[in-house]
């Protein structure tokens, strides 16, 4: 048994999936595992399919809708709290990913579930932003000094901040990729083009092209693929939505070249077309094809990502999925950091996992 029923829902977006009980069990499991239950439910609601679903699976979809609606309500509320906490910060605050889609009313927010809120501020404001957030109740749970140092020295974000009362999380970034990454991006260049969010003075989202590129680079730089399919669907929705703007595609391609993100964009577009049949306007096909890495690498990546983007559910596992995920995990580390940095880091992490007590003392 190896059936990806989940992707099929968006491969034929105008056709209601007509499934028996067993398939519904599998589809709901795949959707939960891919963090897409809310989105699957929203698709059914928006297309008017709900009443055509068997009664019992429909209850699961309705539960997914309730959860997504509530989380979105809470994210809006959290964003208000963040705005209030950072109002004394003299620099712009940029929402990234899910929170940005939601607050900017983009279709990618429909039925989306949230685990944290990602924000970006200029690098020189990171410490003052952390201070202001601390004063408003967000603290870092990362007690390990090695991990703290690792984040601050090498990463594009500080360790997650948790609100002491509400247990909500913020990921505070100064750019979208690690400074050691092969796809490093200077946060300043993103800040140059940010777009204000109406009704929220001081709050911004990335420019359309940057938003797409962030989503693409995030997807293919992640070591873990449990959000892979969701990120790809987000991308498809963003592309679909922004395509209404006349200059979107040439802007996107120019910007990818400018920021050196051609390869992640190429892979993303390839898989969006393969899985959901969504193709860029034909006049840009040649320019996009030129973004491709050399043929052997391109084919290998297409194969690996094709496997890794399947829902990580027992019904979808075939012989190679485990290997593909592992290779991509290794690749993600190689991309994020040069070997002379990543190997000591991975050894250190393995040692810390094996001897949690000793590692904590040794690092002091």
């Amino acid at each position: 048994m190896s059936r990806d029923l989940l992707t099929a829902v968006w491969a034929r977006p105008d056709q209601q999936p007509l499934l028996g009980s067993r398939d519904w069990e599998v589809l709901l499991g795949q959707a939960r595992r891919a963090h897409l239950l809310g989105r699957l439910a929203a698709q059914h609601r928006d297309k008017g399919w709900l009443l055509g679903v068997l009664v019992k699976p429909r209850l699961h979809l309705e539960s997914g809708l309730r959860l997504a609606d509530r989380q979105q309500h809470e994210v809006r509320w959290e964003v208000d709290c963040i705005v209030r906490a950072l109002k004394r910060l003299a620099t712009p605050v940029v929402l990234l990913k899910g929170a940005a889609y939601l607050m900017a009313d983009l279709p990618a927010a429909r039925g989306r579930l949230f685990s944290d809120i990602d924000i970006l501020v200029p690098r020189q404001s990171i410490e003052s932003a952390e201070g202001e957030l601390f004063a408003a109740g967000w603290i870092s749970d990362e007690r390990d000094p090695y991990n703290q140092r690792y984040y601050r020295q090498w990463m594009h974000e500080v360790p997650p901040l948790r609100h002491v009362q509400r247990n909500t999380y913020i990921d505070l970034h100064h750019t979208i990729t690690p400074p050691t990454s092969r796809f490093k991006v200077d946060g300043k260049r993103l800040l140059d083009r940010i777009v204000p969010l109406p009704g929220y003075p001081g709050l911004f989202v990335l420019a359309p092209a940057d938003m797409v590129l962030h989503s693409a680079v995030h997807l293919f730089q992640e070591g873990e693929f449990d959000h892979g399919l969701r990120d790809l669907l987000d991308l498809k929705d963003l592309l679909h939505h922004f395509s209404q703007e006349a200059d979107f595609w040439p802007n996107l391609l120019d910007r990818a070249t400018e920021l050196g993100l051609q390869i992640p964009l190429f892979h993303a577009l390839f898989h969006i077309q393969r899985l959901f049949g969504y193709a860029p306007p034909p006049q840009w096909a040649a320019r996009i094809a030129a973004f491709a890495p050399p043929a052997p690498l391109r084919l290998l990546m297409a194969w690996l990502l094709g496997l890794a983007l399947r829902p990580d559910h027992p019904s979808c596992d075939i012989r190679w999925t485990g290997l593909a995920r592992w290779l991509l995990y290794v690749r993600s580390h190689a991309l994020r950091m040069p070997l002379h940095l990543v190997i000591p880091h991975l050894i250190r992490k393995a040692w810390m996992r094996q001897f949690p007590e000793k590692a904590a003392t040794a690092a002091k």
Binding site: R22, G29, S63, R66
Partner: protein, 305 residues
């Protein structure tokens, strides 16, 4: 067809292959496990539950797996997997059956948002339900186990499933989880009671599960209306004491004891208001089960008077 109509060897075989499809109140589970303690516990405590027909929809597929690698041979483990992912930390294999019970609760409390779900025992008589929310250690399960063997019907020992449309409570009767001294108290109080093997050293101490009387399962689809909300508290040596409690305060406490009150937002508030409006609220302190039986009987008779 009920589970006891299946030979033990077939139960075991189903658990090891496509899964045993068990129907418990409004939910259908697919249970997969190669651990013998799971077969044994199910055969003993779930013998009267219906097996789901071949093509029924499965709400929650649960796998209790053994760990991989060395753990198959030394320090054997039991791991709850849902959608192919481990949910809790692995437990020793001897805890497998209580782990299955906790997993079944987890599935419902995390996903069934078509009910308002309270962490509470619920029992019923003459169509009227008593909701008994209480923190662990308050003697809620002991009281519940005692009362369901003295004329009350078990709706649930752990989860009150409240309808979002009419605030009625749907039974989800499963074995009652008893801890430490309560196990012997109920053995003495209920002659002929059927228990699972006692599992020691769990996070809750020693745990044993008590089988639900068969006649309660025959009525597992009969809902009940909330009528009383009683916060029980076991106090050694105390006389039984039933004290009225304000509705407002009871509402707050119920909300705090809910798994998905926040998820349901305004709907949750409105449903909980209906539950509290329809109920008399009390604190109940007790030390002897016989006293408690008397107090609860009086509730019913005074209502009729």
């Amino acid at each position: 067809m009920i589970l006891s109509e299946l030979a033990v060897a077939s139960v075991k075989q189903q658990l090891r292959s496509d899964g045993l499809k068990l129907q418990i109140g409004p939910f259908t589970y697919r249970l997969i496990s190669a651990i013998d303690a799971i077969t044994e516990g199910l055969v003993k405590l779930y013998s009267d539950y219906p097996l789901a027909p071949a093509n029924s929809f499965i709400d929650y597929p649960i796998t209790i797996s053994r760990g991989s690698g060395l753990h198959r041979w030394t320090r054997r483990q039991a791991i709850f997997e849902f959608d192919g992912k481990a949910v809790f930390i692995p437990l020793p294999e001897s805890h497998a059956f209580p782990l299955l019970e906790w997993s079944m609760n987890w599935c419902v409390s995390m996903h069934a948002h078509h009910y308002l779900i309270l962490h509470s025992a619920v029992i019923e008589r003459e169509g009227c339900a008593v909701i008994m929310p209480a923190p662990p250690g308050s003697g809620k399960s002991t009281l519940c186990a005692g009362l369901v063997h003295r004329g009350w019907r078990l709706l649930s020992d752990e989860l009150a499933l409240i309808s979002l449309t009419d605030a009625s409570i749907t039974p989800f009767g499963r074995p009652i989880s008893l801890k430490n001294q309560s196990i012997d108290i109920i053995r003495d109080f209920v002659p002929g009671s059927v228990f699972s093997r006692v599992v020691h050293d769990t996070s809750k101490g020693s745990v044993a599960l008590l089988k639900v009387p068969s006649e309660h399962l025959l009525r597992i689809h009969e809902t009940a209306k909330p009528r009383w909300i009683i916060f029980p508290k076991y106090v050694a040596g105390s006389a039984p004491q039933l004290t009225p409690r304000s509705r407002a305060n009871s509402m707050l406490e119920l909300g705090r004891n809910s798994f998905n009150y926040m998820v349901l937002g305004r709907t949750g508030f409105e449903v909980l208001t209906r539950v509290v409006d329809a109920s008399e609220c009390f604190d109940f302190q007790y030390s002897q089960l016989e006293d408690a039986v008397k107090v609860f009987d009086d509730l019913v008779s005074q209502r009729q008077a």
